[in-house]
Each structure stands twice: as structure tokens, then as C-alpha cells.
């Protein structure tokens, strides 16, 4: 029934398209929704509200973007809804988190994969970092791995759940160093994982660069390495994993951006793909994001498409062993 309806809708749109050039030049004519598959106040929600705050400007979409949160099951609930129930008329956008949704689709049990969505643009990239408590004896990744080699399976370190960037980073570290570690996932997100590091419940942790940066400013942690290809502007003094001899790329970096469901008319996708990245460049947006310690990384639709493909390939390899 759903398919039939969709087919009818497509037939109708194409009919209308034949009649009036393509019928989308006035898009958008009403406010647009942006679905976030995490709760209000979380990092993704917080950043999405900032990067879309100028959507109503004449030089952007000319229509405001309203945020709608559909949290649950680590984002699965929102993305399931987005893939199966959201209208593909261009008035319902969604936020993606890479590697989360691709890793979940490889794990299985969900109604989506990278092919269910069409990316529009990327706004942010939050790399994972390795943190230890400020009074820890570890001062480099080599200290950490040396301990883990002597005590296989005894190096406890926290992160925000399974099949998220932190978990991917943990798997990469285990593979690259060739040792067994004890990853302790939290079910309350990065903040709870950070607390367990500061309180000394675990010996270390994988966490978001932005949160770790703040925790270091507060004097609570040391940051030993970045799980990315280059050093980060927020932390120029922290070496990457590769610099310390561990062959780890940027597969765990948490990319955030905007997408639409498959089947959205191409003219609308093209229009969004042109306007949205420019909207992210707005000075007020950049200022607020910088003040919040959220690293921006603007990518166009073509760059994101390529990034999704590359990520899918690495994640399939990485998760095959689980």
C-alpha cells in the first residue's frame, strides 16, 4: 500500500512536473522540519539548532527550519522513521550521524542503510580522542599500550555505547596495537563515559574532542591522542594516533550533516545542496559554533556521498570480526 501510494505520488509529481517546468522553483513555500534522532539538548540537537538558525534569511532558504526530536535506541528509532515514514517532498529533512547509522545498518535489525538517504551537506566533524584522568600515570598512547600489553584485557576504558564513533575508535585501537582491551560502553552517552574517567572508575576513555577539550580546560583530564588524520585546531599540541605509531584513520570521526529521504525530487535536492552549505558558512553560525567548542567541517553533497561510501567500506571490514 505504501509503495503504491509512493508510486502514485511519483506519477503525480512527474505529471505536474511536465505541466509547469518542474514545479519546484518556488520551493520552499512553507517552513521545513529537521528530524534529529537524538534528544533535545544533546550535542547533535544543540549543533543542529545553531546551524539552521539562519534558514529563514532571504539569502538562505527564506523559510525557517523547525527541529523535531525523535530519540530512542541510539538513534535507530529516528532513522527508521525517517527511512520509512517521512515525506520525501523536501519539507522533511533529517540529521545524520556518521559512523553511527552506517554501523547500525551493518549490524542489522534496522530499516535503513546508506542507500535509504540522500545527503545534502555536512556541517560538523567531532573526532574521538583518548583521555585519561589528570592524575593518571599514563602520559602517551605508548604508556597505555605498554600497560595493556603487560596486562591483556585489563585496560578498562569507557565510551558512549556500541556502534558509535567511540566504539569504532576502540576497535581500531585494539586492531592497530594488537592487544586486548576492555571497552566499557555507557548507556548514558559521552558525559557519563567522561565522568567515569574523571572519577577513576576506568583507566581511560574514548570521548568527543569537544567535551574532552572542555574537561582538559577544567583541569580534569589529559588528552593523549586524536583518532583523526590530522591534528585538530582546538588541540594543536595533541598528536594523532598515526604520529604515535598506530595505523588509525578518521573512520571514527563523528560527522554530522543534513539529508533527505530517498525519492525526494532531484530539483529540490539540487537546490538544497546549493543553499545549505552556504547557509552553514554564515558568520553568526560560525561564531556560535566556535563559542560552543563544536568543530565545524562543511562539506558539499558530492563530498559527503564519497565520504559515506568510503565509510561503509571500512566499517564493513572493521565490524566483520564482531
Amino acid at each position: 500500500m505504501k509503495k503504491l501510494l509512493a508510486a502514485a505520488a511519483i506519477a503525480l509529481t512527474s505529471l505536474a512536473g511536465a505541466a509547469v517546468a518542474d514545479g519546484h522553483e518556488n520551493y520552499p513555500e512553507r517552513p521545513i522540519l529537521l528530524m534529529i534522532s537524538y534528544g533535545a539538548g544533546g550535542a547533535t540537537d544543540f549543533q543542529a539548532r545553531i546551524v539552521t538558525m539562519t534558514a529563514g534569511n532571504e539569502d538562505a532558504l527564506g523559510m525557517p527550519i523547525a527541529i523535531i526530536n525523535k530519540p530512542g535506541a541510539g538513534g535507530r528509532k529516528g532513522w527508521n522513521w525517517f527511512a520509512t515514514e517521512a515525506d520525501n517532498d523536501g519539507y522533511t529533512l533529517g540529521a545524520y550521524n556518521i559512523p553511527h547509522f552506517i554501523a547500525q545498518s551493518i549490524e542489522g535489525g534496522v530499516d535503513y542503510s546508506a542507500d535509504s538517504f540522500e545527503p545534502i551537506a555536512n556541517w560538523g566533524a567531532d573526532p574521538a580522542v583518548f583521555v585519561v584522568a589528570a592524575d593518571s600515570a599514563f602520559n602517551s598512547m605508548n604508556d597505555v599500550i605498554a600497560y595493556a600489553t603487560e596486562n591483556p584485557g585489563k585496560l578498562t576504558f569507557s565510551g558512549a555505547g556500541l556502534f558509535v564513533g567511540h566504539h569504532i575508535a576502540a576497535l581500531q585501537l585494539e586492531n592497530a596495537a594488537g592487544v586486548k582491551l576492555a571497552y566499557i560502553p555507557s548507556n548514558k552517552g559521552g558525559a557519563a563515559a567522561m565522568k567515569s574517567v574523571i572519577a577513576g572508575e576506568v583507566l581511560g576513555g574514548v570521548n568527543n574532542l569537544s567535551d574532552a577539550y572542555r574537561a582538559r580546560e577544567a583541569g580534569n583530564v589529559k588528552i593523549l591522542g586524536v583518532f583523526d588524520n590530522e591534528r585538530n585546531d582546538f588541540l594543536p599540541d595533541v598528536p594523532t594516533m598515526k604520529e604515535q605509531g598506530y595505523d588509525i584513520d578518521n573512520s571514527s570521526v563523528n560527522f554530522r550533516g543534513v539529508m533527505v529521504p530517498k525519492g525526494t525530487p532531484q530539483p529540490i535536492i539540487d537546490k538544497l545542496a546549493e543553499i545549505v552549505p552556504a547557509m552553514f558558512e554564515n558568520k553568526r553560525v560560525l561564531g556560535k559554533m566556535n563559542a560552543g567548542g563544536s568543530p565545524m567541517h562543511i562539506m558539499t553533497r558530492d563530498e559527503v556521498l564519497e565520504m559515506w561510501k568510503a565509510r561503509e567500506a571500512t566499517l564493513e571490514k572493521l565490524l566483520a570480526g564482531l
Binding site: G41, P71, A191, K195, I198, A218, N220
Partner: protein, 506 residues
């Protein structure tokens, strides 16, 4: 005493206007089922984009404070807790409203909220550095034992049978396991796609409390409508003040318990009210009156859930770790203005930090004044004809459960659970222990699994959970609580008359 220097900032006309809007709006939103404090604060964050940092925080601080207290209004008048923190308030508060003492119940609740709230904020002002270390002392094993302590309360929570209370709690524990498990990455009991996100506490709370009432009102038909309450007793505020002062034991117990529980990251304020209610029942000389519309339980619960507000911000303001969902949202509100909370917050941004804390202090008092002012009026809600009431409650229930996560799935879950609860209530089961099971289940489970993952990697599970001063202290509290329930059950069974009248001293 540094905070007094910044007290003036709260009273500039614009800031004070914001404080009034935040307080009054928070009270109304808090009284709406489904709009929890977390939700209200999250909704307000976009409005602070255009404000200065201090102004934005005044709005958020006032709204946080008053939504927590506002939740008591629907708990007392409609028997629907506005948020999990208000569950214990329904136990005696709703009975009081039913007996025509709605105005008194609301007055007592606002007065004790303000007293507890001011106590909590004063703790935040004076003892932050000490409390921060205490907040970090609780690891997975300790939080596990705390959750178990909460579970031992379940059986004795309501006046009825202990066995039925425990059974209700078990149903709640089972319901809490539905959905994706974030730690082991498995799916459990998802036999319909509506359940893939698990059972969310707030829709469940609304359904379990509101729907059985709606059904029973409709089931009665027109025949005896309007027979329940004929008048709402007027109640002078000075009387209420005197009553709160007379119940100082319940009041101070609530404030202390609320502050301690609020401080521990991860447990949040959800159980502060219920733990305080239970403790005050255990030390009270008039235990048998609990659950029949007795003011002591109401005072303890409400002073506890507002006392939790101040201490729950300690980990956020000193360590940059949000200890509760609401604190996480407030962190967003701070970050957006480029303020990183941390141990040096009070040195780098004293004006912002102190004004924020002061706004909560003044907000507590404003909230109390507004609350007392509307109490007499709001209490008249119970005079509405039951059939209108039922329709309005049903509407609020649907609206409230949808608005939490914008999901119809939650509405279906709410209706299903509520309908089931109607039949369970016919057999003497009650909603409060069930919801408590639903809230405590995931806390106990997640912390047990995390603890055992850490323990397996480092030492042994037995050593991790059963040694250490804090663990032993919590375990003995669990044991005392259990023994107490068993003892009072036996005493009750042997001599119901004695326990009914004999122990109560004049």
C-alpha cells in the same frame, strides 16, 4: 558570601521580568503532564540565542526551578505526576484534593518546595567544592546498590499489600527491559515496532496514572456524577505556613534526602521524592495515616524534589559533567554563550555563574508566591463535572505523551499500559510501584553490567560489589530497609488493631 554581591543583577527590571516570565511559564508548563523540566528547558534554549549569557541563564534557571514544583499541581489535582519526580506527591496529595483539601495540599506543596529548594541552592552556594568530590565517589557498584535500595521501597510504598506492591514493581522492572540494550547491543522483547525505542518513562507515567481514572469515570456513567466532592474548603495561607512549620521533621528530612540523591550523577531527581516519602513514613509517629491524605508525606516528597535542583548542578558547574538530563540541556545553554563550566567557572565568569545561582534562589521564592496565589483557584478544578474532567484528562494524556518525543508510538504505549493498569487496579495493584520499577530497572541493570565488565577486567565481581566502605554502608541500608518491611508486615498481620491505633501517640 560572594553571591550577595551579584544579587542586585537579578533585580534589574529586564532581568527580573525574565525571572517572572520563566517562573510563571515554568509553573504552567510543569503542571502540564508530559512537559518535564528537561523538556521545558530544552524548549527555551532557542529563545536564549538572542539574549546575553546572564539573561538567558536567568530564564533557564527560573524555568528549571518552577517546572519541578509545577509538576505537583497535576499530581495533586489530577493524580497525574507532571514528571517522575512527583510520583510520591500523588500518594497523599491526590487524596487530600479528593477530600476537599486541594487548596491546602497545593499551599503545603509550594511552601515545602520553596523551603527544600532554598536549602538545595544554599548548599550549591556554600558547599560546591566539597560536594563535587562526593558526587564523584559514586561508581557503578554504588549506584547499583542505591537503585536496589530504591527497589526495597517498592513493597511498602502503598498502604495495600506488600506482595502486590512487589509484583507491580516486578512488572515495571520487566517493562524496563524492552527495547535496544545499549550496553550489550541486543534487542529485547520488541514484538512490535512501536516498542523498538523501549518504554519511555513519561508516556508510561501518564498512561498508568491517568487512563485508569478516565476509564473508571466513564464506567460509572451519568448515574452518580458530582457526588464525590461538593465543596473546596478554603484554606488560609497562614494556616499552611504553620502546618509546614509543625511538620519540620518531614520537611528537613525531605530537604536532606533530596539534596543527597540529587547530587549523585545518573540517579537524578527521579527518585528523590519517593525515597524521602518512604523515609518520612518510617520515622513518622502516624504511619498509618500515610496514603490517606496525610500532609507529612506530601511535605517530605515536595521538599525533596525541589531540594534536588541545586545539588544536581554541582557536577555540571564544577566538573563540566551534567549529572541529569536537565543539567545536560543547561550545559548546552551555557556553551552557546561560550561559557565552559569547570572548576574555574566562578573565577572566570563570576557574574554569569552567581547570577544564574541567584536567579534560582529568587526563583524559588517567586515560585512559592505565584503558587500560593493560584492555589485556591486551581483547587477548584476538582469541582468540574467528572465527565468533563475525564475528557480533559484524556486529551492532556494524549498530548503529553505525544509531545515528549513527537511519536505516536508513545501514545499507543500510553493507552495500552493505562488500559492494562485499569484492570490491575481492580485487583488491588497500584501504579506507583510499577513506575518505580520502570525507572529503577535500567539504572540497576546498566550499572550492574558496567560494574561487572570493569570487575571482570580488573578484579572479581564479588570484590567489586561487596567491598569498600560506601558499598557496605549502602548494603546495610538495603538490609535495614528490607528487614523493616518484613517486620512491619509481620507486626501488622499479628495485631492490626494495635498497629492501627496503639502506636500513634496523641
Amino acid at each position: 558570601m560572594e553571591f550577595i554581591g551579584y544579587l542586585g543583577d537579578v533585580f534589574t527590571p529586564f532581568n527580573f521580568g525574565l525571572l517572572m516570565i520563566g517562573t510563571f511559564g515554568g509553573l504552567i508548563l510543569g503542571a502540564t503532564p508530559g512537559l518535564s523540566p528537561t523538556m521545558t528547558v530544552a524548549l527555551l534554549i532557542p529563545f536564549t540565542f538572542r539574549l546575553e549569557a546572564t539573561e538567558g541563564l536567568i530564564l533557564l534557571g527560573a524555568a528549571y526551578t518552577s517546572t519541578v514544583a509545577g509538576g505537583a499541581v497535576s499530581a495533586i489535582l489530577l493524580n497525574i505526576p507532571g514528571a517522575p519526580a512527583n510520583i510520591a506527591t500523588t500518594l497523599d496529595g491526590y487524596k487530600m484534593a479528593k477530600n476537599g483539601h486541594g487548596a491546602r495540599a497545593l499551599q503545603l506543596s509550594f511552601l515545602s518546595s520553596a523551603a527544600g529548594g532554598v536549602f538545595g541552592v544554599l548548599l550549591l552556594i556554600f558547599l560546591t567544592p566539597i560536594l563535587a568530590r562526593w558526587a564523584l565517589a559514586f561508581g557503578p557498584s554504588h549506584i547499583f546498590w542505591l537503585a536496589i535500595l530504591g527497589i526495597t521501597v517498592i513493597g511498602t510504598l502503598e498502604a495495600g499489600s506488600v506482595v502486590k506492591g512487589l509484583l507491580s514493581g516486578c512488572i515495571g522492572l520487566w517493562l524496563s527491559t524492552i527495547g535496544f540494550d545499549d550496553i550489550m547491543g541486543e534487542q529485547r522483547f520488541i514484538f512490535h515496532s512501536s516498542l523498538s525505542g523501549g518504554i519511555n518513562v513519561i508516556p508510561a507515567l501518564i498512561g498508568l496514572f491517568a487512563i485508569p481514572q478516565v476509564i473508571s469515570i466513564f464506567a460509572k456513567g451519568r448515574a452518580d456524577s458530582g457526588t464525590e466532592i461538593l465543596s473546596v474548603e478554603r484554606h488560609p495561607i497562614s494556616e499552611a505556613v504553620r502546618e509546614v512549620a509543625r511538620r519540620y521533621r518531614a520537611l528537613s528530612l525531605g530537604a536532606v534526602v533530596g539534596s543527597i540523591v540529587g547530587l549523585i550523577p545518573g540517579i537524578g531527581g527521579q527518585i528523590a521524592g519517593i525515597v524521602a516519602y518512604d523515609q518520612s513514613k518510617k520515622i513518622s509517629r502516624e504511619k498509618e495515616k500515610y496514603g490517606t491524605g496525610h500532609s507529612e508525606g506530601l511535605i517530605a516528597a515536595e521538599s525533596a524534589n525541589n531540594a534536588m535542583v541545586g545539588p544536581s548542578l554541582v557536577p555540571l558547574l564544577t566538573l563540566s559533567i551534567p549529572g541529569s538530563p536537565t543539567a545536560a540541556v543547561l550545559l548546552g545553554g551555557l556553551l552557546i554563550h561560550g561559557i565552559f563550566p569547570g572548576s574555574d567557572l566562578f573565577e572566570n565568569h563570576p557574574a554569569v555563574a552567581w547570577t544564574f545561582i541567584n536567579s534560582m534562589l529568587v526563583g524559588q521564592i517567586l515560585m512559592c508566591i505565584f503558587g500560593l496565589y493560584i492555589a485556591a483557584l486551581a483547587a477548584r478544578v476538582v469541582l468540574a463535572p467528572p465527565s468533563f474532567m475525564a475528557a480533559a484528562v484524556l486529551g492532556l494524556a494524549v498530548f503529553g505523551s505525544y509531545s515528549v518525543y513527537n511519536s505516536m508510538d508513545d501514545v499507543y504505549v500510553m493507552l495500552m499500559l493505562g488500559t492494562a493498569m485499569y484492570f490491575l487496579e481492580k485487583f488491588g495493584f497500584s501504579a506507583a510501584p510499577l513506575v518505580l520499577g520502570l525507572i529503577l530497572g535500567p539504572i540497576a541493570e546498566a550499572n550492574f553490567i558496567q560494574g561487572s565488565l570493569i570487575a571482570n577486567a580488573t578484579s572479581s565481581v564479588v570484590e567489586y560489589f561487596l567491598t569498600g566502605a560506601l558499598n557496605l554502608c549502602l548494603i546495610s541500608m538495603v538490609a535495614v530497609s528490607l528487614l523493616y518491611s518484613v517486620w512491619s508486615e509481620i507486626a501488622n498481620g499479628r495485631n492490626p488493631v494495635a498497629s492501627g491505633n496503639g502506636r500513634a501517640r496523641p
